[in-house]
């Protein structure tokens, strides 16, 4: 390597020092910015949550809802939705969607739902049979009392009472 080459290299190194320093400074600056953004985001999120907690804890939300209610906003929104046919559109979209039927299928197949349906059906059958039993026993009593009128009188004109089994002989 010639002397000129060595001098050129040394010159290049010397002049690149300020450039490298500038690049390093820019890197530091960017890192600081990123950190500060993250800190600010976290602080903003925390602030938002604190604000939400404060709103929920106090009666501010109640007052807002009360105002909406007294102004009839909710009613107007509901009327608007119904008048514009938005509700029908939503229902139509839901019915057309494949996911709804998949969801319905999943719910129908779930063991808890089938168990609940079985339980309800069994309860319904029990209720019906209970009613039938009750009515049939009433009918038994009625038929028995009607038949007793045609019973030939016993000695002394007494008619035998309907004796419950517990009153009769026991082993």
């Amino acid at each position: 390597m010639s002397v000129v080459g060595s001098v050129f290299d040394a010159g290049t190194r010397v002049t690149s020092i300020p450039l490298r320093g500038t690049v390093a400074l820019i890197d530091v600056g960017l890192a600081i910015e990123q950190r500060s953004r993250a800190v600010l985001r976290a602080a903003a999120g925390r602030l938002a949550l604190d604000t939400l907690d404060a709103v929920l804890a106090g009666d501010a939300l109640d007052r807002v809802l009360e105002r909406i209610e007294t102004a009839g906003v909710a009613q107007r929104i509901a009327e608007r939705i119904l008048e514009d046919g938005v509700a029908e559109q939503i229902v139509a979209l839901l019915l057309e969607s494949e996911e709804l039927w998949v969801l319905v299928d999943e719910i129908a197949r779930s063991p808890s739902v089938t168990e609940a349906i079985t339980h309800q059906s069994a309860g319904f059958v029990d209720q019906i049979t209970d009613t039938v039993r009750e009515r049939s026993r009433e009918a038994d009593t009625w038929v028995q009392s009607a038949a007793r009128r045609f019973r030939p009188s016993r000695k002394g004109g007494e008619t035998a009472k309907l004796t419950p089994l517990s009153d009769t002989r026991q082993p």
């Binding site: 009918a139 038929v143 517990s166 082993p171």
Partner: protein, 161 residues
């Protein structure tokens, strides 16, 4: 010994018997139709078809008697009786019947039905609501009290066992 109540009345017993008849004949019908369809595609000789019909007829009678005799001699309750909460018991020891007496009782039911059900209607004038079959087989039919759900039962007292 099972818990027993008052003597069962005519309407309840009739409904219970109708439920049993529906069950017995429903099963017989299902079996008969299945076998009949099977036989119809086989093109068997007339004599064999007649023999199959005779065997099925006998099987139906055996099924009919066996159904009632089995339930009356085991739990004292046919499925129809269970639905209507009544039970057939021996008139003396208040237990289930012996199989032969249960079969005799079924024969009594047929006899009681022949004179326009007069043998059944006599229960209306009997202190223990006994039909002809009950008199023949010395049985009684009682209401079964509603079973108490386990949650409502009283806790057992220590030392009961």
């Amino acid at each position: 010994m099972p818990a027993v109540g008052a003597y069962a009345g005519l309407v309840t017993r009739t409904i219970a018997f109708a439920l049993d008849a529906a069950l017995v004949n429903g099963v017989a019908l299902l079996v008969g139709v299945t076998i009949g369809l099977g036989v119809s595609i086989l093109h068997l000789p007339k004599q064999i078809e007649t023999a199959i019909a005779a065997v099925l007829g006998m099987a139906w009678v055996l099924w009919l008697v066996g159904y009632f005799a089995f339930f009356w001699s085991t739990t004292g309750q046919t499925p129809g009786d269970r639905v209507m909460r009544i039970r057939v018991l021996d008139g003396h020891n208040r237990g289930p019947l012996r199989p032969l007496r249960a079969a005799l009782r079924f024969g009594g039911v047929l006899l009681a039905s022949i004179p326009l059900f007069a043998g059944i209607l006599v229960m209306l004038w009997d202190d223990r609501h006994r039909c002809l079959q009950d008199r023949l087989a010395r049985t009684i039919v009682v209401y079964v009290p509603k079973p108490v759900p386990p949650a409502q039962r009283l806790p057992s007292v220590a030392g009961d066992a």
